[in-house]
């Protein structure tokens, strides 16, 4: 499998805090890469660096062989990278269909075509019953599905998902996980941040573990699970704010 996303030595400092310190990894076409790490490990910052919502101080990000470091976020997404946000950002005053149409309109200028593409994405995330509701009327779980649909309607090559199962009820998680697996079956490349280790170990092809802004492990789930540094970060002696 060819490498779709290649990250080399990205570093981001906020004042005295180094949120991401010399992080390198790659994502192969068609795989699910899981990013794990305790709160404050730098996972969401890393997403911001990949899509240039924050510009890395050093290091490079390449997508499909093209250097995208420092490129404007909207141009990066047009290349085929969709993302969701940890702090959800639905277009509150638009309906579910309209929200997803905004994504589809990146692919087509025709409103009817965009609507039909949007409906397909909405059906995929199982929100069709809510299609006429305003985004502000949705629950957290529904909003997560909405953000996913909005990104998917762009027909991206790579989707970055920030905590799809975070903040939703235990019973809703299996459904969301199934969506992620179904996407992979359809050939989508996925990078996902999760707190839920069980979910992560099950669905990921490879895992990148971060701790205090550093990469502490990168590889197959079974290897990462037994990695001394990972065990230490999650259970062990180093005290950290959870």
């Amino acid at each position: 499998m060819s490498i779709l996303l290649d990250v080399k030595g990205v570093t981001k400092r906020f004042g005295g805090i180094t949120a991401n310190n010399d992080i390198s990894f790659d994502v192969k076409e068609g795989e699910i890469l899981g990013i794990i790490g305790p709160n404050g490990a730098g996972k969401s910052t890393l997403f911001d660096l990949l899509t240039n919502f924050q510009t890395p101080d050093t290091g490079t990000v390449s997508f499909a062989g093209k250097d995208i470091t420092g490129m404007r976020p909207d141009l990066i997404s047009k290349l085929g990278i969709a993302r969701t946000f940890q702090k959800l950002k639905p277009f509150t005053e638009l309906t579910v269909t309209e929200n997803v149409m905004v994504g589809a309109l990146t692919r087509t200028a025709n409103m009817r075509e965009a609507r039909d593409m949007a409906l397909e994405a909405i059906a995929f995330v199982d929100l069709l019953e809510k299609r006429h509701h305003f985004a502000r009327e949705l629950s957290t779980g529904q909003r997560k599905r909405l953000e996913l649909a909005r990104g998917l309607a762009m027909k991206p090559r790579l989707i970055l998902m920030d905590e799809v199962t975070g903040g939703v009820d235990q019973r809703t998680i299996p459904g969301l996980v199934d969506l992620v697996l179904e996407l992979k079956r359809q050939g989508m490349t996925i990078v996902t941040i999760e707190h839920n280790m069980q979910v992560m170990m099950r669905i990921s092809d490879r895992i990148l573990a971060l701790f205090a802004g550093r990469r502490i492990a990168f590889g197959k789930p079974e290897d990462v699970r037994q990695d001394a540094a990972v065990v230490d970060a999650y259970l062990g002696s180093t005290p950290h704010v959870a």
């Binding site: 899509t51 919502f53 976020p73 946000f85 277009f91 005053e93 638009l94 905004v102 006429h132 629950s139």
Partner: protein, 353 residues
Amino acid sequence: MTTDKARLLEAARAEALWPRPPLWALALGAILAIVLLAFPLVGTTVFSHHVMIMIFLYALMAQAWNVMAGISGQISLGHAMFFGMGAYATGIVVVKFGGTPWIGLVLGMVASAITAMAVGLPTLRLKGHYFAIATLLIGSSVQIIFQRWDYVGAASGMMYPIKRGSPWWDLQFHVGKVAYYYLALGAAALGFLLVWYLRRSRFGFRLQAVRDEPDAAASLGIAVAKHKVLAFMLSAAMMSVAGSFYAQYILVLDPERVFSTDISVIVVLMTVLGGSGTLWGPAVGAAILVPLSEYSRIWLGGTGRTIDLIIYGLLILAICLLRPAGVVSIFSERLRRRVQPEPQPVPAKEMPA
């Protein structure tokens, strides 16, 4: 995909792209159109024509502000500058060059759009209230420039020559106000149609996305700063049309009047009162506030100006407390409830955060 889901998708695809308004709403719209078209023909007074003209004019201006604030989410407090530029563009063409105000109208739109671009490019990149503050100050500065600019008569402005040629070429009508009435109605209707179209267009969808969540909009391939600037240019050009019309209507212009901060503030009040971001809000706001101002000026004589401002203040206070979404929301919510009889509660299995 389960068959249930497939059936639902099929049904959703079969729906009209845009919800059809109910029959009673269409009927109401038709009645309104007939009343507005017939109004000056059925023996109404010249003064009532004047009030209607001012309503149309302010409806256009409020709609212009709505494009920027309601649809794109950027608060401008200096929209009077574009009104004034429209007025002066026609004024210069007519008074200095003896040309037709129609050329001035177009020049004013172009000048306003270019000014909006020059102001917007640096300020609309900033988040927060910088844009509002910048427009407030630049609006005042533009007024001062025109007060000092001798070529256009500085503080005393310009008087129009009275023309007796073709009234439509010169846009001067000396008998009654009926022609002005239809011109203003047409301009307001064009502004209304533009926003109606905008809300159904790709550009309008993107503006609303930028308004609600700029970061999410960027993550969907929307050039955020560019869209804000384009919206500002469109809004400025609409405002300029109102200014050009106003100059032709009163046939005199001075910086005090056409660059007045009052104009910038009143378009905000009208839009917020009627319902910011809605199609009808600006017109409804204008239809409430203009008669209030015009009639209080007559009934209360010299004190009218202050009284109408007090009433404006009370109205805004009332709308903030009772209906923050504006007067129009009273009806639009009722409409939605009819279209969608059962508002589904949040399912218990998903916890709202």
